[in-house]
Symmetry: C2
Subunit: 211 residues, 2 copies
DNA sequence: AATTAAATAGTGGTTTACCACTATTTTCTA
DNA sequence: TAGAAAATAGTGGTAAACCACTATTTAATT
């Protein structure tokens, strides 16, 4: 029997595209299409697909949160992440929470089909470019194997306010903190996200949808 | 005879999605699919479509540049911009260079078809949310009607290096400029993009695909 | 109950960004 | 070819970011 595939993407165009690509594939059947995280969590209670093709950027929740929740509650559903971002930080994050594959949106038809089949069989699949990027990343960070790239509640709050163009002093006032505390959070962010300055913080945050 | 439509998008999934949506539409025929700006400029020399569905983010050139070039050289090709960004700055920019419509990627099938038909007939089409946003924007900026939001060559170079996390001094060294000159460009950027600091520069640049 | 991570606040300092000006030369374009 | 826009460089200054530390209190987790 064919692989039951659910698609979650807020762009109907993308969902349609995948459907049309898979129309000719006899071994894959698209059983559900969701356009946001809430709908997905609701629908998956009733009907669990074999493979979930999950868009990274949804309007209502972040990719890692959603993926973690599904991996935990429905371990039989294999998640294949669909994203247009090749930011390695994000790729690692999704794999860490238990996703079985990470597919870039510029993939062609056969790659997509192959990825779905591989993930369904319990294998792992990465878009070819990502393999190389991940390896390079490992060489760069031999040491930092255990380093947690998860931001704390406060760090996320501070990061959001930085993106909103506030100064440390303004952030301190808003959150009722000392200027020093905000500075500390800011420097933690620089270290955790491995960037050099504010520009890097904003870039990574926006590219990875951290906030 | 049907409307000849060319699609330019670096994601095959999206291009496929549009094709599948239009498969049932008798009055539209997809004649060409391009995955980057260079290919588009090459192909359009030979075959000019009635409507060009143009993705905002292409790997090799920016949306405004590409659109401006096509409007100038092929005035009969009506451009319908396809973007996932509702940043009003960007919408205005594309309309200003002569695009006939701006369609968000979360549009449904009928909206897409309607947009193509409208643009083909010489009309203008905006995704519904954008109408409201544009009106709000006009009220906010009654004054700044004439303000040019076009970045100069040097400003773009500096902005790119800022995004790459370089300091003003590093940028000066790279471009063989005085530190003062770089500072001036940076402040011009702050004014032109109407942001308060580096965070704002990076945010706007990434969200609008300026660089 | 003990350990760990997170959040808080501080000292003391350097570097960088930001701002308002003026001014010359170069390049574009009407 | 005159005028405008862009690119260049400067003065002089303030505000903010960045950095390496130490240290206490408050959650969270085993």
């Amino acid at each position: 029997m064919p692989i039951k595939l659910a698609i979650t993407d807020d762009h109907p165009i993308v969902a349609n595209g995948i459907c049309s690509i898979l129309r000719d594939a006899a071994n894959v059947e698209v059983t559900d299409i969701y356009t946001n995280g809430t709908a997905l969590l609701k629908g998956i209670k009733e009907r669990q697909p074999d493979v979930l093709l999950l868009d990274m950027h949804l309007p209502d929740m972040t990719g890692p949160e959603l993926a973690a929740s599904i991996v935990k509650n429905y371990p039989n559903v294999h998640i294949l992440v669909l994203s247009s971002s090749d930011v390695i930080f994000q790729v690692k994050k999704m794999l860490k929470v238990g996703c079985m594959g990470y597919l870039l949106k510029d993939s062609d038809d056969t790659t997509i089909l192959q990825a779905i089949e591989t993930v369904h069989k319990g294998g792992q699949f990465l878009s070819p470019v990502l393999n190389q990027l991940l390896i390079e990343d490992m060489f760069r960070n031999k040491k930092s194997e255990k380093k947690s790239t998860t931001l704390t509640r406060r760090e996320k709050e501070v990061l959001q306010l930085i993106i909103d163009e506030h100064t440390n002093q303004e952030i301190a006032d808003k959150l009722f903190l000392s200027l020093h505390t905000v500075e500390n959070h800011r420097i933690s962010l620089l270290h955790k996200l491995e960037v050099k300055n504010t520009a890097g913080l904003v870039k990574v945050a926006l590219q990875t949808g951290l906030v």
